[in-house]
């Protein structure tokens, strides 16, 4: 029996060796490589699929309205099917298995670093080939209406400035604060500098909020997430990536200072880690947490948490900074995997529709995301009046800054999270030494990823 099993394994291994020896070392795309397409001669495909990650009643309803509207009104008879394909991570893993096959969806949601990874296999459609097309392109006035930084975010210098996506929405890291509690502590505004932040958080840890609906009192809870790492580094005037040298700068003086600062807050008992998923949100809502930092897309959830919790006056502000604020802006874009010109064109037609002003207004108001066009923000006056916290975060957009859009960033993010957790947890840990190792790891990973470009 054992002999048979070993024989079987041996056969498999030999077969694998033979297969590998016979194999070509260059990838063979299964779909035709695209040249310059004359779009006027292409008829859009009739049926296309859009993979997204949107859940929740409001977002699902808005997405359905958008898709139904598109299917009913587009002049080409295109029928788009929007499919929830899991979270960002699920979509990413599914896509990796499908790149350059006919089974890819026609439109896919993805963060810029994920799209950059897909493009290592030369598998994404360059929208530059159609965006200025006289028939199907986007008028220059519309292009100019996009907030420039958002519009530029999907152009990849790493890939000869190809446009591999278009932003339908964005959100931003903001600091949520309990205004009523701040007043009780003797302050009339959120902290503008790290020193003020330290003072307020430590005071809050000692003096609970009178209207709290639960036990406990804490100044700040840090959720272990790379976007928080980026936010605090930005707040101390640094960056986590140097676009000119294409190198991570995770050990920059700003990052080290930021985390020495946080390490001190933890050591003094003024801050602690978030204990479970969205635990900071529920503690904030219950009035037991003075500050928390998170995405502006969480505004509806914070509103609900406060309304159902301690019902206090609250708002959002920029993170306390050592100079001019710099806020981490992020958001997934919609991209088109390479398929056939007909499918690509139909997908592009939907993306144009999805980013048109009326649809953007509908989507932004339903989802709580920021719109990506200036004219849409102007149309949302009533909404902003009714939602002052949304308006407050929108006003911070001028400080927007982005995380790197490079392949392999997800892997580096994981390591950043491990190191930032270790540093705040252990006051004795040398932040500079830990971040030096982290930076070395990041750049090694990046170099390995970029090797694939140089093949």
């Amino acid at each position: 029996m054992k002999r048979k099993m070993f024989s079987l394994i041996a056969i498999i291994m030999i077969a694998a060796m033979v297969l590998s020896a016979c194999a070509k070392t260059t990838p063979e795309p299964e779909v035709p490589v695209e040249g310059a397409v004359d779009w006027s001669k292409v008829t859009p495909a009739k049926n296309i699929v859009f993979w997204h990650q949107h859940t929740g009643e409001a977002r699902e309803a808005a997405m359905k309205t958008i898709v139904d509207g598109f299917n009913a009104t587009n002049e080409y008879g295109i029928t788009l099917t929007a499919e929830y394909a899991g979270g960002y991570g699920d979509i990413y893993t599914k896509m990796l298995a499908l790149l350059n096959t006919p089974d890819v969806p026609d439109i896919v949601v993805g963060y810029q670093n994920q799209i950059a990874t897909y493009q290592l296999a030369d598998s994404m459609f360059d929208m530059n080939t159609v965006i200025n097309d006289p028939v199907y392109g986007m008028p220059q006035a519309d292009q100019d209406d996009f907030i420039p930084a958002f519009f530029q975010q999907d152009v990849y210098p790493l890939y000869d400035n190809q446009r591999l996506g278009l932003a339908p929405n964005r959100s931003m890291e903001v600091m949520y604060y309990n205004m009523d509690w701040l007043k009780e502590l003797g302050y009339d505004a959120p902290p503008a500098t790290p020193e003020e932040f330290r003072e307020m958080t430590c005071k809050a840890a000692e003096q609970p909020f009178s209207g709290a609906k639960a036990e406990g009192s804490m100044g700040y809870q840090l959720s272990i997430d790379t976007s928080r790492f980026a936010s605090w580094t930005y707040a101390f005037g640094g960056d986590i990536y140097d676009g000119t040298t294409n190198q991570y700068t995770l050990n920059s003086p700003a990052a080290v200072e930021a985390f020495k600062f946080l390490q001190g807050l933890f050591a003094d008992g003024c801050a602690r880690l978030v204990s479970e998923n969205y635990g900071d949100q529920s503690d904030f809502g219950n009035g037991t947490l003075l500050f928390t930092v998170g995405s502006s897309s969480g505004l509806p959830f914070y509103t609900q948490a406060v309304d159902e919790g301690a019902a206090f006056d609250w708002s959002v502000a920029a993170l306390p900074s050592t100079g001019t604020p710099k806020q981490d802006v992020y958001g997934a874009s919609v991209s088109i995997p390479k398929s056939t010109p007909e499918r690509e064109l139909a997908a592009w037609i939907f993306i144009k529709y999805y980013t048109s002003p009326e649809i953007q207004k509908l989507w932004a108001e339903a989802s709580g995301y920021f719109p990506v066009r200036q004219s849409v923000a102007d149309m949302m006056g009533d909404y902003m009046t009714a939602n002052p916290t949304y308006k407050a975060s929108w006003d911070l957009l001028k400080y927007g800054w982005f995380e790197p859009a490079v392949p392999g960033y997800d892997f580096v993010r994981d390591e950043i999270e491990v190191v930032m957790a270790a540093v705040v947890d252990n006051p004795a840990l040398d932040v500079q030494a830990e971040f030096d190792k982290l930076n070395e790891f990041g750049n090694k990973t990046l170099a390995e990823q970029l090797e694939q470009l140089n093949k």
């Binding site: 020896a21 990413y92 390995e448």
Partner: protein, 388 residues
């Protein structure tokens, strides 16, 4: 005429028999064909293709053929691997000598045991030396993940089996509502692991008021960080141990508790089936002979359940080495590498680092490790199984 018939008849019978046998063979093959195709396509092909991928610098796209380089990244160099394997071979040899050698000599067994012990110590030293070399020059993350996986297996499987056996024995008695209890104990196994793991996130959260902290608080123990604690439990208890001897982190132990909770019910049900196969007369005879309940359990139940126990241990070890979902959900960045089992590491290398070639090489090594452990268990425990 008659002669002619007689002379032809045996020939006809032979042909018919041959045809019948052929037809039977074909029918047999046709019956096994669907299963064979499924096993080939979904079982053997992926293994073969993984081996194939592991021989390339395969990332998002297939790169150059690199032969065994992806394996070398794990071991550092082939010599390290050979030293480690030599250590294992000596331990296996010592085991054989312990059981089989010098049987014909008087005092043969004593000699065999002394020789085996010496060889085993030597094998252990060589194994540890080889492992140390691999750790220095190979992939530390991978080797560390194997240790974490081993902790996880050793921390869960014996507990699952022992608790499962005890529960099965209790539920086998004539107690009121035993069917309901059976269902309750089986529920964790059928609950989707991702869902129940999220509940365990809350139970083992950092909060001082978390359920786990409340429970230990009843015994006067101060709140712990549970899933967020990378320090080994023994260190937390004040023992100054390091390396392998320090044992699993508290974070891993939290995950182990989930694993035990989840699989005890399954083991209980399987043990109940095993108990059902033990003849009642055996217990009656033992009772007449004056055996107590604990003696009955020790000398009848346990031996006659040994085939079931063997099966559960075998399946349990294989399962723990492949465990993924709940560990993925329960891990935290704060726990660092202390909860990264090999299957998680392979997943991260595959999907986050896009190192398909390296990840598949690691998967193949894990496959071989599981195979080796299964064979070892088969040898160590299989021979002690009592089949009646």
């Amino acid at each position: 005429m008659t002669e002619a018939v007689i002379s032809v008849k045996p020939k006809k019978t032979g042909t018919t028999l041959h045809k019948l046998r052929t037809r039977e063979q074909i029918t047999g093959y046709l019956f096994v064909l669907p299963a064979l195709i499924v096993i080939l396509v979904f079982g053997l092909f992926p293994i073969g293709y993984s081996i194939y991928m592991s021989l390339f610098n395969w990332r998002v796209t297939k790169g150059a053929y690199v032969g065994g380089k992806n394996y070398l990244l794990i071991f550092g160099n082939w010599t390290n691997l050979l030293i480690t394997l030599a250590g294992i071979a000596l331990i296996v040899g010592a085991f054989w000598i312990w059981n089989n050698a010098f049987k014909s000599l008087s005092k043969g067994q004593t000699i065999a045991k002394v020789v085996a012990a010496v060889i085993m110590i030597l094998g252990g030293v060589i194994f540890i030396t080889g492992w140390g070399y691999m750790y220095d020059s190979g992939n530390q993350n991978f080797l560390n993940s194997l240790i974490v996986t081993l902790y996880y297996a050793l921390g869960t499987v014996p507990a699952e089996v022992i608790l499962g056996m005890i529960l099965a024995f209790l539920l086998y008695q004539d107690i009121i509502g035993k069917d309901i209890f059976r269902m309750i104990y089986f529920l964790p196994y059928v609950t989707p692991s991702v869902t129940s793991a999220v509940v365990f996130q809350i139970i083992f959260s950092l909060r001082e008021t978390s359920i786990a902290n409340m429970i230990i608080g009843w015994f006067g123990i101060s709140p712990q960080k549970w899933r967020f604690e990378p320090k080994p439990l023994l260190n937390l208890l004040g023992l100054d141990l390091s390396g392998f001897l320090a044992g699993p982190s508290l974070a891993l132990i939290s995950i182990m508790i989930y694993g035990i909770w989840s699989f005890v019910g399954y083991n209980t049900v399987i043990f109940l089936a095993g108990l059902g196969n033990i003849p009642k007369e055996t217990y009656e005879a033992a009772e007449i002979d004056g055996a107590t309940r604990s003696q009955q359990f020790r000398f009848i139940t346990m031996p006659l359940l040994s085939p079931t126990t063997f099966y559960l241990v075998l399946i349990g070890f294989i399962g723990t080495f492949k465990a993924f979902n709940h560990i993925y959900v329960l891990r935290t960045p704060s726990a660092g590498d202390s909860v990264i089992t090999t299957s998680l590491l392979i997943f991260d290398n595959f999907y986050k680092a896009n190192q398909y070639g390296i990840a598949t090489a690691q998967a193949i090594v894990l496959f071989v490790v599981i195979l080796g452990l299964t064979l070892a268990q088969n040898k160590l425990i299989g021979e002690r199984v009592f089949y009646g």
